[in-house]
Symmetry: C2
């Protein structure tokens, strides 16, 4: 394995809300994604989901409050908690989550990218 330059990885794609896997550690996948606008309300029954923002602003809408993440800020959405990510234009963020995590939980939307289609870059 080589070292991973995160900015370089972000330069490899433009698509929004399509997580790309950059490495694996202890069964957890590290993914990066770009986002603009809103994804969809969903939850992961068995997986916590860690978010870390690198560029722009990512709002993790929860049912009872919003978590607004700027670059250098992190939040863990606990398993079972409904959330809907919303991003300013061209927001860049990183996620750490188990390989078993479905993109939008049991919700299927036009934006959903199944785990098999989440490519390694």
């Amino acid at each position: 394995m080589s070292k991973i330059n995160i900015a370089e990885k972000f330069s490899l794609f433009e698509s929004q809300w399509t997580p790309k896997v950059i490495t694996e550690s202890n069964g957890q996948l590290v993914k990066i994604a770009k986002g603009s606008g809103e994804l969809v309300w969903h939850k992961h029954d068995n997986e916590d989901e860690l978010f870390l923002v690198f560029k722009g602003q990512l709002t993790l809408q929860l049912r009872e409050r919003n978590i607004v993440l700027n670059p250098g800020e992190m939040y863990v959405v606990p398993k079972g908690v409904e959330h809907c990510p919303k991003a300013e234009a061209d927001t860049h963020f990183l996620m750490v989550e188990p390989a078993s995590t479905a993109h939008t939980g049991t919700v299927e939307s036009d934006l959903t990218v199944s785990s098999e289609k989440q490519e390694w870059i």
Copy 2:
């Protein structure tokens, strides 16, 4: 839980090679540390260890090569692989590793901080 501002967390301590836990996700602890100089050669038989650098330069010395990480760069030291981190003055980095991970593996050095003593900040 509140959001975590990583720079703010780094401002809370000055000590070198003393990992501080900033959050937990799926049984993995997210830790930050500052380093200068060399830690000690060790390995973790059962845990991969993810490193991400925020400031300075961290060299992960492996037996057969060196991985030189600058800000925004990441590397996963696989379980069982001997390594010795070496840092430029006041290097800041983040780690993700299972709660079971011993600081310097089975090696005890003056720099070793046992898991019980790795405080949450």
